[in-house]
């Protein structure tokens, strides 16, 4: 059963079509990297798949559950990391995680929060307010927040933006460690890193799918060339 299925998903803001008939199927446990110029609809696609935005046409399902029919069931299976941390700056790291754990109905929120902070290596800063954290540390707490209910599918919306190289490495190790059999969907401008991590690649331009293929069928050089053309075409 596929982790994600999309059937000509469209999303229009007034007359501007952010998504124009996007269709693809992603098997479970895959790592999909989405590329495309600015305004191609990458973030919109992620917001629609994560039930944060409602598509104007078409349908999609996550782990076989239709987004329109039972959004709340889908929300129990997905986690999201974006450049905004979705954490309350005035609450401490632990309080934030306990908050989300309680909302998701995790068995023992306190223990789960401690365990996750341990995993992201921040248990020593447990009682400090998130406001006092650096960008890298906030991102790690954000990962912990996204994992609190052990989601089947993880959405990453340009997670590297604003991270220094050292923080990027820590982030990559973390992603690798929590990977398990989860399905990942990452939107990124970093072609090399995105291509390295992914099992499937999708290129979007003007809200339409340019290519969607397994990594094996793609050679990095051709892919990089294709990407440059799309970005060129996209910007014209």
């Amino acid at each position: 059963m596929n982790a994600i299925e999309a059937h000509n998903l469209s999303k229009a803001f007034g007359t501007r079509k952010a998504l124009d008939g996007v269709s693809f199927e992603l098997p479970e446990g895959a790592f999909l990297s989405i590329f495309g110029p600015n305004g191609a609809g990458k973030t919109t696609l992620l917001r629609v798949l994560s039930t944060l935005a409602r598509p104007t046409a078409g349908s999609a399902s996550i782990c076989g559950i239709d987004l329109k029919e039972s959004p709340n069931e889908v929300r129990g299976l997905i986690g999201m990391i974006s450049h905004a941390s979705m954490l309350y700056p005035d609450l401490t790291a632990e309080e934030n995680l306990v908050l989300y754990a309680e909302l998701y109905g995790v068995a023992d929120p306190q223990a789960r929060a401690r365990e996750l902070l341990e995993a992201v290596g921040l248990s020593h800063r447990r009682i400090d307010q998130v406001r006092t954290f650096s960008r890298g540390m906030t991102q790690r707490v954000s990962i912990a927040r996204a994992l609190v209910h052990d989601p089947r599918v993880m959405f990453l919306d340009e997670p590297y933006s604003g991270l220094d190289p050292h923080a990027v490495d820590i982030f990559d190790d973390l992603i690798a460690s929590v990977r398990g059999d989860r399905t990942f969907v990452m939107v990124s401008h970093d072609l090399a890193k995105g291509f390295a991590l992914c099992t499937h690649a999708l290129v979007l331009a003007r809200g339409r799918v340019v290519t969607f293929a397994k990594k094996e069928d793609l050679d990095f050089e051709d892919f990089a060339q294709l990407y440059r053309d799309t970005v060129g075409m996209g910007v014209s």
Binding site: F13, G14, T56
Partner: protein
């Protein structure tokens, strides 16, 4: 999943054919009503006279008031404004259930006409108050209710202009039109039921003599037709602008 066929109101269908005749009929009826108000309906009794006087065979005991004549337009216009609010709220619900932008346009146009007719009501009511009680404004329940309705409709349009994303604008507009639709009757009820301790209000409502009722009815139907005609006309104009905008966007692709 078969998409339930949603009947989407479109300009240029049969209602539009009726638009112009309705507008014409409305104009005729309102003028007839206007004439009836002055010639046919009897003037209302004002203050009592010291000594009654025989006037062409009828014993007159009160001052004859014609300021009341404004009533014949004031009440129908007020009722039509509330009917328009009902339409706006109805299309608001239709939008929220079907997410079809067309219903939002209908709701907006209906709200526009609500504002127009509320302004009519305020003008006629206020001038009548000015003569009746000699003051430009009293916090008398009926007048206040319509002032609040006018403020809510103005707020509705101010809000519409400050949001760009059509989807969000339409949703918020529909919700506000529904809340307004619920709020106005409550406002009407509360302002009238609460005994205003300030100064007792002499309710002039009183019964209507048959000839008065006839006049009001004529003007009412006339105003309804005018409103319907205006609504269709404005709706066609809005649709035309929308279709044009869509064409322009396609051209840019």
């Amino acid at each position: 999943m078969v998409e339930k066929k949603v009947r989407i109101p479109e300009a240029g269908q049969w209602p539009d054919k009726l638009a112009l005749p309705a507008l014409a009929a409305g104009a005729v009826l309102t003028t007839v009503g206007f004439l009836m108000a002055f010639l046919f309906a009897a003037p209302v009794n004002g203050a009592a006279l010291d000594t009654p006087e025989l006037v062409n065979g009828v014993m007159v005991t009160h001052q004859q008031l014609i300021s009341q004549k404004i009533f014949y337009f004031h009440m129908p216009v007020a009722i039509v404004s509330f009917v328009m609010l009902i339409f706006s709220a109805y299309y608001g619900i239709r939008f929220l259930t079907t997410r079809e932008q067309r219903f939002d346009t209908c709701s907006r146009v209906a709200m526009e006409l609500t504002l127009l007719f509320v302004i009519f009501t305020m003008v006629t009511g206020d001038l009548w108050t000015r003569f009746e009680w000699g003051v430009w404004w009293t916090w008398e329940p009926r007048l206040t209710t319509y002032l609040i309705l006018m403020l809510i409709v103005i707020a509705y349009f101010v809000m519409r202009n400050s949001i760009d994303d059509p989807e969000r604008r339409a949703t918020y507009a529909s919700v506000i039109s529904l809340i307004a639709f619920v709020d106005v009757p409550i406002c009407f009820m509360i302002t009238r039921l609460i005994p205003s301790s300030v100064h007792p209000v002499i309710a002039r409502e009183g019964g209507m003599t048959p000839d008065m009722a006839a006049t009001v009815l004529v003007v009412m139907i006339g105003m309804m037709l005018v409103a319907f005609g205006l609504y269709r006309l404005r709706f066609r104009e809005a649709r035309l602008a929308e279709r044009l905008q869509a064409l322009k966007d396609q051209l840019e692709d």
